[in-house]
């Protein structure tokens, strides 16, 4: 079950546990502005192929 987290935990996961940030908003919104280091996979395109390059052994944070 996914865990809801707050900003401080996001920072801790990124810096301390090599967390991966994924923005699931449409690409237009991502291109306008996104969190530094985040990648974009829009929700509608979230499948096995588009997530194949993500590391399943590391934390994954979505927003």
């Amino acid at each position: 079950m996914p865990t809801s987290i707050v900003r401080e935990e996001v920072q801790r996961l990124i810096t301390g546990e090599a967390g991966q940030l994924v923005e699931v908003l449409p690409s237009e919104e991502y291109q306008d502005e996104h969190i530094e280091g985040a990648i974009n996979i829009p929700l509608k395109r979230l499948d096995r192929e588009t997530t194949s390059h993500l590391d399943k052994t590391r934390p994954l944070i979505v927003y």
Partner: protein
């Protein structure tokens, strides 16, 4: 949208999935790093000075006056241990023989602006109210720093920021409550 994405990722075999529900609006409001084609637009969090003197409401006023003077400032921002802004103490407005705790004399609820607010809109607000600075806070009320009008003007003009470190007088200092 992110809860659905988090669930979807779990069904795809990811075992450690977190949902940052507050998302990038919260991140930007805290003045944290961002990327993209709009990042060149300056925000309050980009130029807020992060050298405010802070104190707790339970501290002795005499101790706080000393701390503020040693820092070359005239104001102490009263926060919780988690940096949530509660009030402000301007030591030049205190009686010479004041005693007690900060909570007894602090001004409650100083006006703040969010760290992701565009500078031009804040500058307009400062100009219309004829104030020289405003506190910058996150969306959950945590102190980021203080935005000075001179810094905002300099940034919009692409010039170097002027030092507005002089103590604020009654007319120029930011005021309380929207």
């Amino acid at each position: 949208m992110s809860p659905r994405a988090a669930w979807r990722l779990e069904t795809l075999g990811f075992t450690e999935v977190y949902d940052y529900v507050a998302g990038k609006a919260d991140w930007f409001a805290a003045g944290l790093p961002r990327e993209g084609r709009l990042t060149s637009i300056p925000r309050t969090g980009d130029i807020a000075r992060r050298d405010d003197v802070t104190c707790r409401h339970t501290e002795r006023i005499t101790d706080v006056i000393k701390k503020v003077r040693e820092a070359g400032k005239d104001t102490c921002i009263v926060t919780t241990d988690g940096w949530i802004v509660l009030g402000r103490v301007r030591i030049d407005r205190l009686d010479a023989d004041v005693q007690g705790q900060v909570g007894d004399v602090m001004e409650l609820g100083p006006t703040t602006t969010r760290a992701d607010t565009m500078i031009d809109s804040v500058l307009e607000r400062l100009n219309s109210r004829n104030v020289d600075n405003i506190l910058v806070a996150t969306s959950d009320g945590r102190l980021v720093g203080t935005l000075y009008r001179s810094d905002a003007e300099a940034r919009l003009n692409d010039g170097p920021a002027e030092d507005s470190g002089q103590p604020l007088d009654d007319e120029s200092c930011c005021c309380c409550k929207d």
